[in-house]
């Protein structure tokens, strides 16, 4: 579904992505892990066309990502790490605007009701707490039934209850055969969701493995321990 070939992106001198190639398929739930500033968000933004790569190409559902192609983004629901919204718009305004722009027949509003968002509809985006803003981002990402979900630190800032609701929703959508890409720092959260792991460091992919392979190779069941053991043993 998503294919990236030899992507390189520099911000000034810093190489945010260094010859990254990756293949992601429908039905997978992929965790992109790595230390801060390793290029996770840049990789996701390249797929979205928000960051323009210096070289290499990205294909989404066999459509090539370039500035003249924007239609492919209808397949993607994106939840940014820090959602920034026009501060004088109300929650309802933002949601209605997105509905108006995307005009997707089938709407998926389960998450909105699970989060009790309609009760807050008249609140202005600028006055919301970080967690509530995250909820709006999540609702928007899932609302238009996209085939690909790109979630950048989805549970950071959410309370445990909402975080569980979101995870249940991610799982449900993944089971329907959608491709889910998650970045997160909290490894323990990902245990029951993820099918594949991509580990990045300094703009490079260190490894990309199925979680089963990872568990077999390291003999650890917990994702956090498996990652720790693979990094300690220096396997690349």
């Amino acid at each position: 579904m998503i294919q990236a070939k030899h992507i390189t992106k520099k911000f000034g001198r810093l190489k945010a992505l260094d010859d990254v190639s990756v293949q992601m398929n429908a039905g997978e739930c992929i965790a992109i892990l790595g230390p801060n500033g390793c290029g996770k968000t840049t990789l996701l933004k390249t797929v979205l066309g928000m960051v323009v790569a210096d070289s290499g190409e990205v294909m989404v559902k066999n459509e090539i990502v370039k500035k003249s192609n924007w239609q492919y983004r209808r397949h993607i629901g994106y939840m940014p790490q820090i959602g920034r919204y026009p501060s004088n718009m109300k929650i309802a305004d933002v949601i209605n605007m997105m509905k108006d722009i995307r005009q997707n027949g089938e709407l998926n509003e389960e998450l909105a009701s699970a989060f009790d968002l309609p009760a807050l509809n008249q609140k202005k985006m600028g006055n919301l707490s970080g967690g509530t803003t995250q909820k709006v981002s999540a609702v928007l990402a899932f609302m238009f039934n996209p085939d690909i979900l790109i979630l950048d630190e989805p549970t950071a800032g959410l309370d445990p209850l909402s975080s569980e609701k979101l995870k249940a929703k991610i799982k449900a959508e993944n089971d329907k055969g959608k491709l889910v890409i998650i970045t997160s720092h909290i490894l323990s959260e990902l245990d029951d969701l993820v099918t594949e792991v991509i580990y990045m460091q300094e703009g490079k992919i260190i490894f990309h493995k199925k979680i089963k392979t990872l568990q077999e190779e390291t003999g650890e069941i917990k994702l956090s321990k498996a990652i720790a053991s693979i990094l300690q043993s220096g396997v690349k």
């Binding site: 928000m50 919204y85 026009p86």
Partner: protein, 256 residues
């Protein structure tokens, strides 16, 4: 799609109230000038000097700040299935529509009421041109610089340059080379500044060209005729199309 986004941009600008203040300011200026001056040409001349300063200043500063403050809106839309070009043009048209409307209500309609002839029409057209040009320059500035403070500083300096420094420069050149015939050079120089271009067109309309002497006569011969006016209109169009086009190119390549 563009119409939808323009609708949201317009809604946002109207809620902002700055444009309303601008409209009232222009209206008060035009009414007071028209009512105080009994001599029509003198009235237009006073109004002209105010328009040539205030319209570019407001348009460039307001638009630059507006684009920076819309960064969240832009960020939200860029990840959606929308062309970047559409987002950028919608911002431009939203700004141009609201500021043009403010100008039409504030100065255009009063001018046409007091001078229901070519002069009134000229005031309207010149002001609208200036609005489009300076919004377009603002988009170029806000598109090229990520730093808001720097962008606003560049906007202020650009306005100072076009409104004041450019004329000082031209005067300096005139005095340095006063022994040479400079009329042709003056015509070329006036095309390089949209404010000068507007001023000349308006001065010629109200027959005030005589006050700028021999150069004025040369201007009248060049700008007063069909071809001159055509070149004038084309260069005004270039003044808002080129910065806009450049800003779109920059915005399409930008990392959000």
């Amino acid at each position: 799609m563009m119409r939808k986004i323009i609708k949201y941009v317009l809604g946002d600008i109207i809620r902002n109230k700055m444009v309303l203040v601008y409209t009232i300011l222009l209206f008060v200026i035009s009414l007071s000038v028209f009512n105080i001056e009994t001599n029509t040409s003198k009235g237009i001349l006073s109004l002209l000097n105010i328009i040539l300063l205030i319209v570019p200043l407001t348009c460039i500063i307001f638009s630059t700040i507006y684009i920076y403050n819309s960064s969240e809106f832009i960020e939200l839309l860029v990840s959606q299935p929308i062309k970047r070009k559409t987002i950028w043009y919608s911002l431009y048209f939203g700004l141009v529509l609201s500021l043009s409307l403010a100008y039409i209500i504030g100065i255009g309609l009063p001018a046409l009421y007091y001078f229901p002839n070519a002069k009134g029409l000229m005031i309207l057209v010149v002001g609208l041109f200036l609005t489009w040009v300076f919004v377009s320059i603002a988009l170029l500035i806000a598109g090229s610089s990520r730093d808001k403070t720097k962008g606003i500083a560049i906007a202020i300096v650009s306005w100072l340059f076009f409104a004041i420094f450019y004329d000082i420069l031209v005067l300096f050149i005139l005095f340095q080379f006063q022994d040479y015939p400079l009329e042709g050079a003056m015509i070329v120089l006036s095309f390089l500044n949209p404010i000068d271009l507007s001023r000349i067109q308006l001065l010629l309309q109200i027959d005030a060209a005589a006050i700028i002497g021999y150069t004025g006569a040369v201007f009248k011969i060049f700008f007063g005729r069909g071809l001159g006016i055509l070149i004038c209109v084309l260069s005004m169009c270039a003044w808002f199309l080129i910065p806009l086009w450049l800003s779109v190119k920059i915005f399409q390549k930008r990392d959000i």
